[in-house]
């Protein structure tokens, strides 16, 4: 059976909804199965791979940085790329160029790249299936 290719379009910014947690759960399974994965990170989601995210302590929880182990989406993106590679798949993670410019988040996790809606079109044409997770 040929290797499956899955495209997911994301719109939500980090730390604003549960949509991204759902998306990463799906992406994780796809990576573990060695699928080829395309991600079009659009609008707020263009900040997911912003490399200057940093974890913080949580005084309300009474935890320092290490204890709180606060999630950053850049770490999740990097882990996704590594997991796919380990299982023989690849991830083409495209950060919408205009979206990152207007947000000032144009420094990416290595292995992700700047792109445009044309990339999303190309992804759709080349995929076995496409999942759009929009902002509501």
């Amino acid at each position: 059976m040929s290797k499956k290719t899955l495209t997911i379009a994301l719109m939500d910014p980090p730390y604003e909804s549960e949509n991204l947690t759902t998306a990463f759960r799906i992406l994780d399974v796809a990576a573990r199965r060695g699928y080829n994965i395309n991600v079009f990170a659009y609008e707020g989601a263009s900040g997911l791979a912003f490399v200057r995210q940093s974890p913080h302590p949580n005084p309300v929880h009474g935890k320092d940085v290490a204890e709180e182990n606060h999630p950053t989406t850049k770490d999740q993106v990097a882990a996704l790329l590594a997991e796919a590679e380990k299982n023989g798949g690849k991830v083409d993670w495209v950060n919408c160029g205009m979206c990152v410019d207007e947000r000032g988040v144009n420094e990416f996790v290595p292995g992700t790249r700047r792109g445009s809606p044309a990339d999303f079109h190309t992804f759709i044409e080349a995929s076995d299936n496409v999942l759009v997770i929009p902002t509501k």
């Binding site: 730390y15 549960e18 991204l20 947690t21 759960r25 573990r32 709180e68 999630p71 770490d75 999740q76």
Partner: protein
């Protein structure tokens, strides 16, 4: 003396996995530490925050694992017991969802929708989150 604020929390489970808590309950706890005087009313889907024993596995992406997944019942208890923030739950919203009083963490107070306006009058500020 701080202005008393009534906080009606309705938006629920929004980004709790990424933040490892609810952003509004966290904000109120932090403000209380700075001298604010808050009360919380959980309504709508947020009444589920008061259900004891809830939890969720942390997110896993490849080798990356979340180790501090949110526990909303723990955070509600923290507001009540440690921060001394009164927490009310709207009874009709519990009933709509089939949640019994015995399922709730100790210390939450039940409040009918019809009693809300009287509660509003006791506060200088009412915030609907």
């Amino acid at each position: 003396m701080a202005r008393k604020t009534l906080n009606i929390v309705e938006s629920a489970y929004r980004a709790v996995m990424e933040e490892q808590d609810d952003t509004i309950l966290w904000l109120l706890a932090a403000m209380q530490g700075a001298g604010a005087e808050h009360t919380v009313v959980l309504r709508g889907n947020a009444v589920n925050y008061a259900v004891a024993g809830q939890g969720v596995p942390g997110l896993t992406v490849g080798e990356w694992k979340q180790t501090q997944a949110p526990k909303m019942d723990r955070d509600v208890l923290d507001l009540i017991e440690k921060r001394k923030i009164p927490v009310y739950v709207v009874t009709e919203d519990l009933s709509d969802r089939g949640i019994e009083r015995g399922e709730l963490v100790p210390g939450v107070q039940l409040l009918s929708r019809t009693a809300l306006p009287r509660l509003f009058a006791e506060y200088a500020l009412v915030a609907h989150w």
